[in-house]
Symmetry: C2
Subunit: 230 residues, 2 copies
């Protein structure tokens, strides 16, 4: 008694839209593109395209991202499928949102070749086409949940980073100010950082120690999960 009947009219286009979060040591950003066709030509949009016959959704997300930005080897995760009737006024389209986290500095060379992409601070992002703002919110909620239950930063920070940068990242994701001492204690108790014998001298005379993630311990914590209380 599964419903077997369907009408060909019920067939839909399946789109994939990519929410690319980046961090530039200060702010959480999102990669957007200016739409160059109607409807909503000229407005800002997530990076997207359509699923084709010979690929699954994961493959489509990677292909679309690579084709439009040059990015490759990016870990993407399916977030949610958006299906409001008339979300795309031109034609019934269901869109599956994917998200990725990248370190902006590490990827900017690839991205600069591709126009007209632009990084926007999440706080100052423009109104997007269709339900794309809703997609960003949903991905942001996922990112926040992830940050509270697993370590985060590996994909978003440069290989070597200061405690201040790590704290800035958490503050950006959780959208809240964190107490410095509490944050440091909390993070040290996770035991996933390696303190380097090297300093970042760019922000003060005294300099700030640089850290790396201990990749093995980091990955173990990702699997085990924790509750990062603020």
């Amino acid at each position: 008694m599964v419903l077997s009947n369907y009408s060909t009219e019920d067939k839909v286009l399946l789109a994939v839209d990519c929410i690319i979060f980046g961090f530039d040591k200060e702010k959480l950003k999102i990669l957007l593109v200016q739409r160059d066709f109607e409807p909503e030509k000229g407005k800002w949009s997530l990076i997207g395209g359509f699923l084709t016959k010979e690929e699954n959704l994961d493959e489509a997300a990677l292909r679309i991202l690579n084709h439009l930005t040059g990015l490759h080897d990016i870990y993407m995760e399916q977030v949610y499928s958006f299906s409001k009737v008339n979300r795309d006024p031109a034609e019934r389209t269901i869109s599956v949102a994917y998200y990725a986290l990248i370190d902006i500095a590490r990827h900017d060379k690839e991205l600069l070749k591709h126009n007209p992409m632009q990084w926007f601070s999440l706080k100052d992002a423009p109104k997007l086409i269709f339900d794309h703002n809703h997609m960003v919110e949903k991905a942001m909620a996922r990112l926040r949940r992830r940050a509270l239950s697993k370590p985060i930063g590996f994909e978003l920070l440069p290989k070597k980073f200061t405690m201040r940068q790590l704290q800035k990242l958490y503050e950006a994701i959780l959208d809240t100010k964190l107490d410095k001492r509490n944050f440091i204690n909390k993070f040290n108790s996770l035991d996933i950082l390696i303190k380097l014998d090297e300093k970042d001298m760019s922000s003060s005379k005294k300099g700030a120690y640089l850290f790396e993630f201990d990749e093995e311990k980091y990955n173990l914590k990702v699997e085990a999960g924790f509750n990062f209380k603020i």
Copy 2:
């Protein structure tokens, strides 16, 4: 530079498949249906159907569930979209999986009217059609994550339940034996249970106290989240 070009051939059928978890005070179960058409006629399947033109996915999930089982007012949550090429050999179909949690006893009257549905213990569930076993695994992983980060039980247990039933539920979801004293302490520390002045006399001479969830505190914990360490 969003990819605007697509071919009508790329249009797909969008199915919705429902993973209905139930608990009968002892075991975690799943509601299945025997498929009565080809391909895979006679095999067991999740409850499913196709998205139609005038509804979004949430509405489709509720409509399909209600039409096939009589169940209504059930809270369903989107889990994931499955898109392997040829997952349905008859036609390219992408399926969005939804899951729901229900107390079997509370709903069996509605369900019995509808055939040929059957509850299977998760442990003894048959091989399902297509990628439905994979869908169940994914929903099960979601349920497990949920049980570790938020209280669970409100939808799955009868209104009044014993500590033993609550523990059985957690053991079924987490697929592990739990120490009774630790479990009770852990749960009491959450402060979401109301101990009733009433006993369940069915399982021992002495009887076992019945509990209810304090709905307000329960919902606050659902929002706040926690880390239920085993």
